[in-house]
Amino acid sequence: MTKPLLEASGLVRRFGGVVALDHVELAAMPDEIVGLIGPNGSGKTTFFNVVTGIYGADEGRIIFDGNDITRSSSRAVYHAGISRTFQRSRLSLPLSIFDNIMIGNHKRLTQGIWFNLMRRASFKDEFEANYRAACGLVEVFEPKLVKRMFEPVAGLPMIDRRRIEICRALISQPKLLLLDEPSAGMTHEETKALMDDILLIRGRNPGLTIIIVEHEMGVIERITDRCVVLNFGRKIAEGPYRQVAGDRQVQEAYLGVA
């Protein structure tokens, strides 16, 4: 049996008296798409924030790719190969599409001051190579955007901003992609188009593991291999969507039936 790419065990995170994550166990296998679902406030985004080092864990361990990343900073988590999107789009609006995508490519860009300021010919080569890479990625999601690479993101509609955010997360070729409600604020058709793009990307990047937080159950049913359901910070169910959706506890959590 292969080892999980990401394995969180006994993960606890408290905010004062509130237990946002209560001994959460979650594993994602290589090449798997895991849906992380649950009612509002059940700890899904907190789980992402703890994994990516924005919050520390109070208890438990997170193993990624064989290394313990429980105490790692956000920087270290990114360098280890985890990228994410945010529930509320966190693009830098005054910057261009290209700039925003390059922010996600930080670890593959040469960062030395001397290189950046003085070796402009080499810098130009690196710039052009990255421009092509960014265009190639954007083309998968929306070919029209390729012509607008140097326009500010502020002028784009929500769906394009989501696409750019996913491109920003993918450009560095992470091993694990965390998608936090990619369909928030979009119509059904837009959501469907975005999911098609995500499946296409996954087809082109064998080995890419995705954990997706989503409220659209249609999306979850269509793209996930397996679901983990959280409620009040606790894992209450796990398994393929159909099985989880039929679970009595899950129905109670969502519908509030006693």
């Binding site: 990516t52 080092g53 924005i54 900073s73 956000s74 920087r75 988590v77 990114y78 360098h79 990228s83 994410r84 945010f86 966190r90 830098s92 609006l93 005054p94 910057l95 261009s96 700039d99 390059m102 922010i103 996600g104 930080h106 670890k107 860009l109 040469t110 960062q111 001051i113 950046n116 300021l117 402009r120 810098f123 130009k124 710039f127 421009y131 265009c135 690479m149 140097f150 326009e151 500010p152 920003r168 560095s172």
Partner: protein, 385 residues
């Protein structure tokens, strides 16, 4: 003379530069107050008219596509202005002041415009440079170009020591620390007898390979003000800083600084070392400010605590707000306005702070991104895929 393959003409940029140079010559040469007021009003009216007629867009396109060529021509234009006033000490000193203040605001621009670290002690770091010149020129035999460099390094070092403890805080703590530093440094200089106390110190002029900058130059019966040598050196300093800041913006480093200014959390999630880049920007900015200050000390021949107060720092920040945060071209325009207008308009001298504040408020209300807003980053001017 459009370059092959480029679709944007160089002409509007050249025309704008020529007009600006002619206007500056007229303004700097004017003596009578009524004439100056008419000239200023005409200038404002002309810019507004050009704005309504949409003549400014072709100019900015021309600048963004042919920046290297137009940059070189700007240097020529500055030389034309300086050559016109070749024997006028007062005007040349004013021009040199504009050049060196621009270098200092370019430094502030790296700090605030790119990295978002507000520095309210700009004049203090400028002063550190000037005092470095005063002390080193009098007490050591160090080559004066090296003294300039030391002035920059010293300002940069003091700045990074100041910022280190507050690096992890968010919001405006760094700004508060710089305000405290500005007030402290002035008091320190005033009570420190070694550094001349409130009276300050004399600064020996620049001496380059045995050639003293403080002597007038005569070639045949053609007389040059001694400020002309300072003008040349300041111009070199400005051109170098301008290129440096431009390259910085158009690199991954500039992108890092923008990213951390706009969203620190997201930057960290994409591997950015926020502290490292903040301190880099602050240090680099203070280096430029200190360098400009060191040369300015030699130009003015005199340093005193009263020249480097918190109010002077605010003027530097207001230049930044006025010109367009993040746009070096805007800084040049704004520095000319802020430095030249009160000098020429003697009638408003005592009201100049009032005028600055009104101007800044007006800009923030009606054009919040400054007179020349910063365009989207283009890594190589004129580059097309």
């Amino acid at each position: 003379m459009a370059l092959p393959g480029s679709r944007v003409s160089l002409l509007p940029g050249v025309a704008a530069l020529a007009l600006a140079a002619a206007y500056l010559i007229a303004l700097l040469g004017a003596e009578k107050q009524t004439y100056i007021i008419v000239l200023l009003a005409a200038g404002i009216a002309a810019v507004l008219a050009a704005y309504w007629l949409k003549w400014l867009a072709p100019i900015s396109r021309s600048f963004s596509d042919h920046e290297d060529a137009l940059g070189a021509m700007s240097v020529i234009a500055a030389f034309a202005v300086a050559a016109y006033f070749h024997d006028d000490h007062f005007v040349l000193l004013l021009v040199v002041t504009v050049l060196l203040y621009t270098v200092a605001t370019l430094g502030l621009n790296i700090q605030f415009g790119y990295a978002g670290v507000l520095n309210f002690a700009g004049a203090s770091f400028f002063g550190i440079g000037a005092y470095t010149s005063a002390v080193l020129n009098s007490h050591t035999a160090l080559p004066h170009l090296l003294v300039l460099l030391i002035g920059g390094v010293l300002a940069a070092m003091v700045g990074s020591l100041l910022l280190l403890p507050v690096l992890r805080t968010r919001g405006h703590y760094a700004a508060l620390v710089t305000i405290a530093f500005a007030l402290l440094l002035k008091t320190f200089l005033e009570v420190n007898d070694v550094l001349g106390g409130p009276q300050g110190l004399q600064v020996k002029g620049m001496n380059l390979f045995g050639w003293s900058f403080n002597d007038n130059i005569s070639i045949g019966n053609f007389d040059l003000s001694f400020y002309f040598s300072y003008f040349v050196l300041s111009m070199i300093l400005l051109a170098a800083s301008f290129i440096l800041v431009r390259r910085l913006e158009r690199s991954w480093v500039g992108l890092n600084l923008d990213a951390l200014r706009l969203d620190e959390t997201a930057s960290r999630c994409f591997g950015l070392d926020v502290e490292r880049w903040k301190i880099t920007a602050f240090t680099l900015g203070n280096f430029l400010i200190g360098l400009a200050g060191a040369l300015f000390g030699m130009v003015s021949g005199f340093v005193a605590p009263n020249n480097y107060t918190f109010a002077d720092s605010l003027i530097l920040v207001s230049i930044l707000l006025l010109g367009g945060i993040g746009n070096p071209w805007g800084l040049i325009v704004a520095t000319i306005i802020v430095v030249v207008v009160p000098e020429k308009l003697q009638t408003i001298q005592e009201y100049r702070f009032l005028l600055y504040s009104l101007l800044v408020i007006a800009v923030l209300l009606f054009r919040p991104e400054g007179l020349l807003p910063r365009p989207v980053r283009r890594y190589f001017p004129g580059w097309r895929p």
